[in-house]
């Protein structure tokens, strides 16, 4: 089934935040933000801006009726700065004017007097100075210290990865309306409608029931609108609440890039010990997460880094410690993979370093240590249905790895200025929110008296195709045509207390809830049908929009059944609630079974490096991926391709640069480059692993949002292998992204003797 939204998309008729018809009297908000990363506000002079024609009001923390607090996990983040600013771009005030343009002009008239204070941008420096968001955590299995001596090989090193801007094409935005009795309705481009509702209520000092949040769809999210859509929505609500007029805020791109947090940069130290036959005996890693100026989702992101510290590998002795370091960057936040990619980059770097020192191919170490059933992960979950080895072996065979290696060696032998590099990237990613209590969802289903169906869930459509999958669940449950089902907007008054659309788990959680609601309705409808034909309920089935009795058509169409049920006063509305079973995690012991299941895959990446210019192109990425039993192959393939390219972007060209004063330098699309149509691999092949799927996945179709991003890690190591092929003196470094600058400097590092091949 095609994506149900695609027809509206190609006609430009889909509704995004900025397409909502503007009500008469609507005001526009513009954020006045901190012009330095850390400082004491001595005075802000709003007088000129306030007098600018068209400016209605300038709102600061003093105007907040409730709490000036938006921190979700830890209450450490004000909506508006009070006496100090903690990052460049931190909101100080909201200018509300009759037009966006006027508000922007007025912004230039505000004068702020700030005493600049010392600023920290480096997480290791923050740790040294004791600047942490919360205490460090350690995941531990076995005892590394007792094993080092017994290891044949021990290597130590550093591995750093930089941040990543989400660059959703639709920038952040919200539109708030004052309703009757002081109620507020917020249209928001958020992945977390409930987070917006909860925070708006807190800031406005009202009950959550006074706030309704409605989301039609997002023009991309990728985690950037999980927690960070909240500020703007709350500001709009605050404006509407204070002024009794609709207030709309849509961020300009450069403001969006400056004011919002990104993927966390990490700086890490590792130590890896191997046996003679390359079995990893011990792994010790210390992560320094650059959390930015406030917690935001950093505690959860850091937790997932620890969960994925060993990626697809079984290591019997592991000590993984993580520090969430408080710096003066914007609060960093969720981004597809949620800390997992950062953790995996370090183990892959450790393996690459060991391989380099040993003069072998990294894949020999990777393959030797892949997870299998019965292996225990550092956090206590014991692997079941492990497919790491199967995806590896399938990729090896299907994509003729040996022939590929021979071809590349041959090519590198023959070519002087061009070198190819290959890397293999296995991925194992856990599915569930690591915060167990968030793994629940609800769905509301109405069957209307004409047989059409309305479905509401807590899932937010942001391009991942969850609406289509939900529609498939409902249409399939009732065995009716998809045209009979409508997916409603995501709205807090219809489905309450939702978890954000995140953690790749949206389709699983909401789909299962929807399935439960549909099944309950189905049970009642079968009873009605059984009465109609005078048969046992157990003999009734609904198929192809009609009633079957003992596998024969009973001459009752779906519409007739619904009409009868309606007239007989059968309830045609149902609510489904799903809470993922089995999972649990004890934070005091750092042990448990946090994931419903894992998703596996193996990618083979081949790159060509132009050794004169230091630029590169990817020839191919070939993937064997564990979809389970995909319920929508087109959508799932799109997730793999898109996730892969996003991960490759992070590892190659996407370079976030802050200066030492904490100012973002790569603050526009002209300076922050995401992949364009030419920079993606010439060929992406995706093969589905043959499996039975997993019972805890919706219709056995495994979660697919985040796992493919981590195939992109291989891009770093493929490039590195090509650089090594050109320059034998190159000393591998593990600091992503591998920009053309790093490539060229690597190619000509210490080249004072003759260069092989030229």
């Amino acid at each position: 089934m095609k994506n149900i939204d695609s027809k509206g998309h190609v006609r430009g008729e889909s509704i995004y935040l900025d397409d909502i018809p503007v009500q008469i009297g609507t005001l526009h908000g513009e954020i006045f933000d901190a012009p330095c990363a850390h400082g004491k506000i001595k005075n802000v002079d709003y007088s000129q801006a306030e007098q600018f024609p068209g400016v209605v009001r300038i709102i600061t923390f003093k105007d907040i009726p409730g709490e000036n607090q938006i921190g979700g996990i830890i209450p450490d983040e004000p909506l508006f700065a009070e006496d100090e600013v903690h990052f460049w771009g931190m909101p100080v005030a909201l200018i509300i004017a009759t037009s966006e343009f006027i508000a922007r002009q007025a912004k230039k008239l505000i004068k702020i007097d700030i005493e600049e204070l010392d600023c920290i941008v480096d997480p290791k420096e923050a740790r040294e100075k004791g600047s942490l968001i919360f205490p460090p955590r350690t995941f531990k299995i076995g005892d590394v210290d007792s094993v080092w001596e017994a290891c044949e090989h021990v290597f130590e090193g550093e591995a750093d990865s930089e941040g990543q801007e989400h660059l959703y094409i639709e920038t952040q935005g919200a539109y708030a309306f004052q309703m009757e009795n002081g109620n507020i309705r917020i249209a928001s481009s958020t992945q977390g409608p409930t987070a917006v509702q909860r925070t708006a209520a807190r800031v406005l000092g009202v009950g959550m029931h006074k706030i309704e949040v409605d989301v039609t769809r997002l023009g991309g999210g990728f985690g950037g609108k999980e927690d960070q859509a909240t500020s703007w929505a709350v500001m709009a609500a605050l404006g509407a609440h204070l002024l009794k007029r609709p207030v709309k805020i849509v961020l300009h791109r450069m403001d969006d890039m400056c004011m919002t947090g990104k993927r966390h940069p990490y700086r890490s130290d590792f130590k890896i010990g191997l046996s003679k036959d390359f079995k990893i005996k011990a792994y010790q890693v210390t992560f320094h997460q650059n959390a930015g100026a406030a917690a935001d989702l950093s505690p959860a992101v850091m937790e997932r880094t620890l969960f994925h510290a060993t990626n697809s590998y079984h290591i019997p002795n592991v000590t993984a410690t993580a520090y969430s370091c408080k710096t003066h960057l914007p609060p960093n936040t969720a981004f597809r993979g949620f800390g997992g990619p950062q953790g995996m980059f370090v183990i892959e770097s450790a393996i690459a370093k060991a391989a380099h020192e040993l003069g072998i191919d990294a894949s020999r170490i990777q393959e030797r240590n892949l997870l299998k059933d019965g292996d225990e992960l550092p956090y206590g979950q014991v692997m079941e249905h492990a497919l790491a080895r199967k995806t590896w072996a399938t990729a090896h065979k299907k994509f003729q790895l040996e022939a590929k290696r021979t071809d590349i060696a041959d090519f590198n032998q023959k070519n002087k200025y061009i070198k190819k590099g290959l890397a293999i990237q296995p991925v194992c990613f856990g599915i569930s929110f690591t915060n167990t209590s968030m793994n629940n969802a609800r769905a509301l289903v109405h069957i209307y008296s004409d047989g059409s169906v309305g479905v509401s869930t807590g899932a937010v459509e942001m391009g991942q195709g969850v609406n289509t999958k939900m529609l498939q669940v409902a249409a399939n449950a009732f065995s009716i045509a998809p045209e009979k089902v409508k997916l409603e907007t995501t709205n807090t008054t219809r489905v309450a207390n939702t978890s954000p659309s995140a953690a790749s788990a949206t389709a699983d959680l909401n789909g299962k809830a929807l399935q439960i609601a549909c099944d309950k309705l189905l049970t009642r409808l079968k009873e009605t049908a059984a009465n109609m034909v005078g048969a046992e309920v157990s003999s009734i089935e609904l198929q192809d929009e009609q009633v079957y009795c003992n596998n024969k058509p009973a001459g009752i169409k779906w519409e007739k059944l619904i009409q009868t049920a309606f007239l007989e006063r059968v309830c045609l509305t149902e609510n489904g609630h799903y809470a993922t079973p089995v999972i649990h995690f004890d934070k005091t012991k750092e042990k448990g079974h946090p994931f419903a299941y894992h998703v596996y895959g193996t990618a083979i990446l081949v790159v060509t490096v132009d050794c004169i210019r230091g630029i590169y192109t990817f020839d191919s990425v070939e993937i064997v991926h564990d979809f389970g039993k995909s319920m929508n192959e087109t959508i799932d393939l799109g997730q793999i391709e898109g996730g892969l390219v996003q991960g490759m972007g992070w590892m190659t060209m996407e370079e976030l640069k802050y200066n030492s004063n904490g100012k973002l330098l790569s603050n526009a699309l002209s300076t922050y480059k995401i992949p364009d149509i030419y920079s993606v691999p010439k060929e992406i092949k995706v093969e589905a692993l043959e499996t039975e799927g997993h019972e805890m996945a919706i219709r056995k179709s495994k979660a697919v949002g985040e796992p493919p991003l981590m195939y992109g890690l291989g891009a770093y190591f493929a490039i590195q292998n090509a650089v090594k092929a050109f320059n034998p003196n190159y000393q591998p470094k593990y600091h992503a992204p591998f920009t053309p600058e790093k490539v060229l400097l690597g190619l000509y590092e210490k080249v004072n003797v003759s260069v092989s091949g030229i």
């Binding site: 190609v10 391009g463 996003q646 053309p740 600058e741």
Partner: protein, 397 residues
């Protein structure tokens, strides 16, 4: 201007349908841009190729799909276009449902528009002049909303490209696309397509003017580097109506400062035609190979007779406060034998002529190394038959 609303019909167009079928839309926010670009490509003359189809949409950025589904959609459209009726392409496109029927009347409506909006004396007024605005609108969007400006990108008399004796003249309003479509340029520069593809995107190449690129005075302007190496001369129109001529290499005074007085305007540039002994090459490296601003760019023109360098002009961008004409490097190589020794020695002089700074586009060490590499790349590209000799270039480092 046709927007998506002007394309929508009751049925999806083949372009729209292809995006639906391949999953070329995810969040959908960028989709309309792709649909319009690819539909626009369908209207262009000549037979369709996948490469050109991709090129037509390359200025659009998508964050969701990884582009593969969009490539597949483009492939479907290109194969459909192979049946296009070359004699009556618009009728064919209308018949096949690519575009609504009113497109048949667009040429007439355009002519009517031109007559209505012609401003014969546009250049004489005192308003700030904006060419394509492709950079100015990005840098100062709010200012341009409130300012009166005089847009002149579409003045046809400023777009002409012609030869007179052994000189090529290019109007200030010509765009990169105009160069690309010019027979004159294609005959002079066999690798023109490859070189210009490195410059921005199709949409920007359609809009941005050459004079805009030169006057903008970015140290990293791509066309600036291109024309500096051609040792081009500017014709500058004074407010009195007189003109003055100025070599492009003397135009740049300091960072973002050019020799252009108030109310003067660049009208044209000219350069001597290359002959059969003249070679030209353009090199550019940026973080992202396409659709990006260079870390370093450079162009070279050299005439070689019997391995002797008779004429040489080399430019470099991103390594100095202004676009740079490498005076000393050129002086050194002029009259020298073309050999790895002379090029290698020239690279050292080149190194002394530049003073790159570290910024978002790279560290100064990187830019220094990169320019040296691209300088070598010129010779490797232009004289591949001398392959073995270049080995020694690298040994020096």
């Amino acid at each position: 201007m046709v927007t998506i609303e002007g394309l929508n019909m009751e049925q999806l167009t083949p372009v729209q349908q292809a995006f639906v079928d391949t999953g070329g839309t995810q969040c959908g926010f960028c989709t309309v841009g792709f649909i319009m670009s690819l539909s626009g490509y369908c209207l262009s003359a000549g037979s369709a190729t996948l490469e050109e189809g991709i090129s037509a949409i390359d200025g659009n950025i998508c964050r969701c799909t990884g582009y593969k589904s969009i490539e597949r959609a483009t492939g479907i459209i290109v194969s459909k276009l192979s049946r296009k009726d070359d004699k009556h392409p618009i009728d064919w496109l209308i018949r096949e449902g690519f575009i609504p029927g009113y497109f048949a009347g667009i040429p007439e409506r355009l002519i009517a528009l031109q007559v209505a909006s012609q401003n014969p004396n546009g250049r004489a007024d005192r308003l700030p002049k904006v060419g394509g605005g492709t950079d100015v609108y990005v840098q100062r969007p709010d200012d341009l909303v409130t300012s009166d400006i005089h847009p002149f990108f579409d003045l046809t008399d400023l777009k002409s490209i012609f030869l007179d004796k052994n000189i090529c003249y290019v109007g200030a309003g010509a765009t990169a696309t105009d160069l690309l479509e010019s027979d004159v340029f294609n005959s002079m520069f066999p690798n023109l397509r490859k070189h210009l593809k490195l410059i921005s995107s199709t949409q920007i190449r359609n809009m941005g003017t050459i004079a805009g690129n030169l006057v903008n005075a970015s140290p990293i302007g791509d066309l600036t580097a291109f024309f500096l190496a051609l040792n081009a001369t500017l014709t500058i129109n004074k407010p009195t109506g007189e003109v003055r001529k100025l070599p492009l290499k003397e135009f740049y005074l300091a960072y973002r400062k050019v020799d252009l007085k108030e109310n003067e305007a660049v009208e044209m540039l000219e350069f001597h035609l290359p002959d059969e002994n003249t070679f030209f090459n353009f090199e550019k490296v940026s973080k992202r190979t396409y659709l990006d601003i260079a870390s370093v760019n450079t162009a070279i023109r050299l005439a070689v007779i019997n391995d002797n360098i008779e004429v040489i002009d080399v430019s470099a961008g991103g390594v100095f406060a202004t676009p740079l004409y490498l005076e000393k490097t050129c002086a050194f190589l002029k009259g020298k034998q073309l050999s790895s020794e002379s090029v290698s020695a020239a690279a050292e002089i080149l190194d002394s002529e530049i003073s790159p700074i570290s910024d978002i586009r790279g560290s100064k060490e990187y830019k220094r190394l990169l320019l040296r590499q691209l300088f070598f790349a010129h010779f490797i590209e232009l004289f591949p038959q001398k392959n073995l000799k270049w080995r020694r270039l690298y040994e020096k480092y």
